[in-house]
Amino acid sequence: MKVQRISAIIERDMRKFLRSPALMMSSMIFPLMQLIVLGYAFGGKIKGIKIALVDEDRTAYSRDLRERFGAIVAGPQTMQVENYNSVSDAIVDLRAGFVRAVVYIPVDYSRRVDQGNRPRIAFIEDNTDNFVTSEILTRMQDLVKDINQGLNPFQPGQRLTVPLPRLNPLVDLQVVELYPYIEYIKYLLSGSIAMSVFIVAMIGGGITFIDDKSRGLHEGYLVTPITKSELILGLIFSGAIKGLMAGTTITLIGGLIAGIDRLWDPVRLLYLMFVLGTTSVAMISFMFLLMVRVSDPLVPRAMFGVLNTLLYFPSGAIYPVEGFPVWLRWISYVDPFTYAVHALKALLLKNTGFSGIYSDILILSGFSVVLVALSVAFFKRQI
């Protein structure tokens, strides 16, 4: 194996890459656009959900309940309460989509409170939108908790309210947050960085590789004494350099957009580039193995969307892996994206240093070795 021949292939690829700004732009615009659009589309706090409130009890108890409810929704402005006179009107509007939920205080509410007979309020929800539903439900649980607060559930009949759900006052959960609140766009950033590396691998390792092959350019190289491992290593290293360049650029631009703290910390940047380099090698080898026997230039283009979905979404970039069904978890285990995203999150969100990334680095490196070996084995140095 001769280093001169490998470096000749790298030189060729880099000269071509630096000469095509369109390729560089497209490898950066897509992930940045996705970061911004997804970041703002998903990350925002839900505000102004319309809730219908029907009070058929109309007593001091129910007024107390309405006031507490009003106080809870006033702060975060999650909900906007509208008073209805009849529950049937409210449900008609709920079905029509004018309100997202109905809170119904039945006529026997105060009587049951006085009797300590499990007073109930009804919560009727439009559960077609999970995000809105879970947001409202959280508020409703706050409300019930608030009503129950400070009461002694062992002495019913006293002036009290709803024992619902039954709380054990002896156990109290204290939540300790290790890191400041992470906005969704910061959470998403790691995925977008990995995506930019993926796109470079896809375009450089997939599309241009097959295009060069079908244009006959490879024939010009295959008549020279270059060996197949030299050719593959050259292509993989040049792809990795391009991936590292794109990934670093997105880390910096995306980091500024998402507002990552102390983005310019040199030690962290060094670790980030280490992760990006390893990720680039893994992604380009992955792509190379997929494309090693392909010669139709349409194939990598057709696979682009499929691979993007299959690798990006199961990686935990936009939703935690722990929420996946088993089959999807298996995809995430063999997906180089997963480890890249994990390592990038460790560095960008928690600034863990090497301890948070070494397992990912090891896995990605092992991955690359296997993929490169398979690529060399499957590559046909023939026409």
């Binding site: 006959g216 350019l217 010009g220």
Partner: protein, 333 residues
């Protein structure tokens, strides 16, 4: 290469089979050191497959080939170092400049930077691309790209050069330029050149020896002159005549040595004959006797077209179009 060996290329019973289709059928021939050897045949005759086997790009199904003394299978690397190859497709990188294309190839062949600095400008000069050296190849004409690729194929000073249809798709001026270059290379560098072509005139003009390839087989191999001699003399007399009488064709057919007479609508007659000049004389006598005005007459000697027709039973043009039909037939199965 072994200096005592006069053969640059030795091909023995070389065969290539793709599935059921035999592209090259046990072909044997030798190419002498220092000659220009032509493989002439229509598209699909197996020329490119043959050249790819000799240049290590395609493994043979059976048989053997030695190029520059190296076996194409057991010593592929030795072959690759000894040969320069100009494939049929334009293989220079359009996104690189001419100089960069040369540079990358020189590095792949392991040339030192001193060798590169000396050779690359020399070669670019020799193909007339010095002023375009730093222009992107994507902006080049087909002829310029072809010339660059010839220069690129010479960057490691090979002993043997393979050119697969070097002038296909080029305009007449570029074709002539490429021809001159090939002739000059043979003279100045003492290269052995193997080229394929489906142009008769190209093979005739350039090659010392020609092998006619058809349906994966060599049907004839000799110098252009001897190939023409081997064909029973067929001269074509072309005559343009005003107001040919009714029995004109029959009269022509009775002339000495005439094999056939073809009548074209525009008053042009094609007469195949074993002796062109004699037939012309008789034709002129006949015309004078009958008071017929001959506007123009010309004699065409034996061409490689005739040679091809003789050995394959088809015109090269017909063979080419037949090949196209055969190639697409699998689409309808």
């Amino acid at each position: 290469m072994n200096p005592t060996n006069d053969n640059a290329i030795e091909v023995t019973k070389l065969k290539k089979q793709f599935g059921d289709f035999v592209a090259v059928k046990e072909v044997s021939f030798t190419v002498h050191t220092g000659e220009i050897f032509g493989l002439l045949g229509p598209n699909g005759a197996g020329k490119t497959t043959l050249i790819r086997m000799m240049t290590t790009l395609t493994p043979p199904t059976s048989g053997s080939a030695k190029v520059g003394g190296h076996d194409v299978v057991s010593d592929a690397d030795g072959v690759r170092h000894a040969i320069g190859v100009i494939p049929q497709a334009l293989t220079s990188d359009p996104e690189l400049t001419a100089r960069e294309n040369m540079m990358i190839h020189a590095k792949l062949y392991g040339l030192t930077s001193a060798q590169r600095a000396k050779l690359i400008p020399e070669l670019l000069e020799s193909v007339g691309l010095t002023e375009f050296a730093d222009k992107l190849v994507g902006s080049f004409s087909g002829g310029m790209r072809r010339r660059l690729e010839i220069a690129r194929g010479l960057v490691h000073s090979p002993k043997i050069m393979f050119l697969d249809e070097p002038t296909t798709g080029l305009d007449p001026v570029s074709r002539t330029a490429v021809w001159e270059m090939i002739t000059r290379l043979k003279k100045s560098a003492g290269l052995t050149i193997l080229l394929t072509t489906h142009y008769m005139d190209e093979a005739d003009k350039l090659c010392d020896r020609i092998a006619i390839v058809d349906h994966g087989q060599l049907v004839a191999l000799d110098t252009p002159a001897r190939l023409k001699d081997s064909v029973p003399a067929v001269d074509i007399v072309e005559a343009e005549i005003d107001n040919a009488p009714q029995n004109w064709k029959a009269s022509l057919e009775k002339l000495d040595g005439v094999a056939s007479v073809a009548d074209h609508d525009d008053g042009i007659w094609h007469i195949s004959t074993t002796n062109g000049p004699a037939t012309v004389r008789e034709l002129m006598d006949l015309a004078r006797d009958r008071g017929i005005n001959v506007r123009r007459v010309s004699v065409q000697g034996t061409t490689l077209d005739d040679v091809f027709l003789y050995y394959t039973g088809r015109q090269l043009r017909d063979a080419a179009s037949e090949t196209v039909r055969r190639d697409v037939s699998h689409l309808y199965k």
